[in-house]
Symmetry: C2
Subunit: 388 residues, 2 copies
């Protein structure tokens, strides 16, 4: 009987998550020419509801065009299966006679695979292919999606720095990142000279204090007449409360099925606007969130990232016969290598930025951080030096 593969995409999309989907689908078709390859629409929800795209009927050309398109072409989900939901997903997988289920996503998605493995015993193979712009998966040097998103963030802050040389003031750019500051720190990847922005970065790995923030901005303004700030939406005060939660009140914040606080409202913008208006009255200040652009912008999509994302999907299929696992991108001997690691070593865990990536006060990159981001996110554009 021909094999049946189910592929799904979970969590926030990335510019290259479709590469992983295409990598898995094309590898399955290459290894098992008669295989059925079903793409679950909107992740586990599509499996539960019996909604699939028949990827074995899509031409290789069309799959490659989709691979080069940002965001999750199968649709994604933030559902986190509880016991009853898990049962329905397993029934859905059995209904289509799935042999292998490749779920592409981050730590929540890998946790879903772990839960399904615990529930399903040996009835099928559950593979996890890594994806997250947050770069926060354990066992990984970096994750598919991060390089492209990081490239957007580096480009955006390089651009805003040019803008604020022209019309000086204070800029605060809010970057996605709940628990890990990698993406926010990528804002500093393309600094060339000492006075280049971003001049300050704030990440969830270090306690955030509004008073200290204002002092930091004052210091930079005195020195450079402008101040470019990159801040993670998940920055957290010393008592461990996220800044959004501290502002909105923990009884009022919205949460998703995974218990994550909703960070995407304008509360954080407003808090920074007010802090700057009070701390540096009369200074031109602008606070913006980069929002979804880092994870979906059609104009970024780094080639290395695309290639690695494709390979991660292909390897999840190619090694499924060895049993369920997560695919990890590790760095050894000057290159990225792909390894199988236990689902439990990745599931529902968060990798934080190593302590030595940040300087002493936590507002800039230290040598190890600079080296890491320069290795991963090489400069893409040549620019001249402004006269101001």
């Amino acid at each position: 009987m021909p094999k049946t593969f189910v592929i799904a995409q979970g969590g926030g999309p990335t510019p290259v998550i479709n590469q992983t989907m295409a990598g898995a689908a094309l590898e399955a078709r290459k290894r098992y020419p008669k295989a059925k390859v079903l793409g679950a629409l909107h992740g586990v929800r599509g499996i539960r509801d019996g909604r699939f795209a028949e990827l074995h009927k899509v031409s290789e050309e069309d799959l490659k065009a989709i691979a080069a398109t940002p965001s999750a072409a199968l649709g994604s989900t933030r559902d986190k299966p509880d016991a009853a939901y898990t049962k329905l997903v397993l029934e859905g997988l059995e209904k289509v006679k799935a042999d292998v289920f490749v779920n592409i996503g981050g730590n929540d998605t890998s946790d879903t695979q772990r839960i399904l493995t615990d529930a399903a015993g040996d009835r099928m193979v559950f593979m996890h292919a890594p994806k997250t712009i947050d770069n926060d998966l354990m066992e990984n040097d970096h994750t598919p999606g991060f390089i492209s998103a990081g490239e957007f963030v580096a480009a955006a802050f390089k651009s805003v720095d040019f803008d604020f040389r022209s019309l000086p003031g204070i800029y605060v750019g809010i970057v996605m990142g709940r628990h890990a500051g990698f993406l926010t720190a990528a804002s500093a990847a393309w600094r060339d000279e000492k006075d280049d922005g971003p001049h300050l970065i704030y990440v969830p790995e270090r306690a955030f204090s509004t008073a200290q923030f204002i002092d930091d901005v004052k210091r930079v303004m005195d020195k450079h007449k402008r101040c470019i700030v990159a801040v993670s939406e998940g920055v957290t005060t010393a008592d461990g409360t996220s800044l959004v939660e501290a502002i909105v009140g923990s009884d009022k914040v919205e949460r998703d099925a995974h218990g994550n606080v909703k960070l995407s409202g304008s509360d954080l913008n407003r808090a920074f606007e007010q802090a700057l208006a009070e701390g540096l009255p009369g200074k031109r200040a602008r606070v913006d969130a980069l929002g979804y652009l880092p994870r979906s912008f059609i104009g970024t999509g780094n080639r290395t990232d695309a290639r690695e994302a494709f390979k991660a999907g292909a390897m999840a299929v190619a090694t499924a016969e060895q049993g369920g696992a997560s695919i990890a991108l590790q760095y050894e001997g000057g290159k990225t290598v792909f390894r199988r690691v236990p689902l439990a070593s990745v599931a529902a865990k968060t990798r934080h930025m190593p302590d030595n990536f940040l300087n002493k006060d936590g507002t800039g990159l230290a040598k190890a951080g600079t080296a890491y981001f320069e290795r991963l996110i090489p400069r893409k554009y040549r620019t001249g030096r402004p006269f101001v």
Copy 2:
């Protein structure tokens, strides 16, 4: 005696305003090899304060590298000279023995040139080279900077549409544009299929009503399960008050030297968030401002736009001996032609989107609008069709 040119940049930067600066500087050096070419730092303010870059000493190679860099490399200003300031600027120009002053900018900058012309009589030539991402200069088919910024906006909304196919909900993207909706309307330039976003656009040329907005979003959500909205920061209610002013209170809004209301705070974000929370309770909604990225993003920078921007600067210098004027980009016989037009025909005036660019209810492009944006902003990226 060798000629002296002064070049300045005014108003908000664009991705190609440095092309115009380089075009003017290199044309001056070509025509008058011994000319002094002074770049005023931060516009008229630099002239007043005697702060200049000596552009005749910068290598052609360096000037071309700067030309390809977004934002105003000489620094910009929002100062609007009153009588006393005008006198200081004229003194500053006479101090450096300026023969020609080329000021690159939008309608406020061209007004500065008009004021200087009125004050200075025949003592020197005042040229205006067009620049604005708002595309709102009279006499022009389009303005240098608009194509690049429009390309960013088209790409951003194409990207966000992919994102929201994956995780459905409502997205409101706020786009720069005080009085003219061209840049916001450019969000629809790359729609391919009928269900592609943006599904709704709101521009300053049509009265905005929050109740109508909610009805519109409900209609789109029923049809597509997601709703992508592009809205100009300058949208205005039926009584002629900008929405920001209506929200903040006209006594409390901040204004710049030109009397323009500050639109860049998060008040508008919050107003849309609250309207959606009340009008469509429980629906996932995200409101973001694209902020400065359309005008400064290093990754956009359309080649046609760059070439036209360069040429506008060169022509300002090349035709200065005919007397003060503004350079206009007009469209005739299927191509863009450059013409000299009187400063007064551009100065402090605003070109709005032609009425026939929008459909009847004003929330989408009509045929003439689609044709205009497709001509100006050709698709740059190939994408596949998602399964959802």
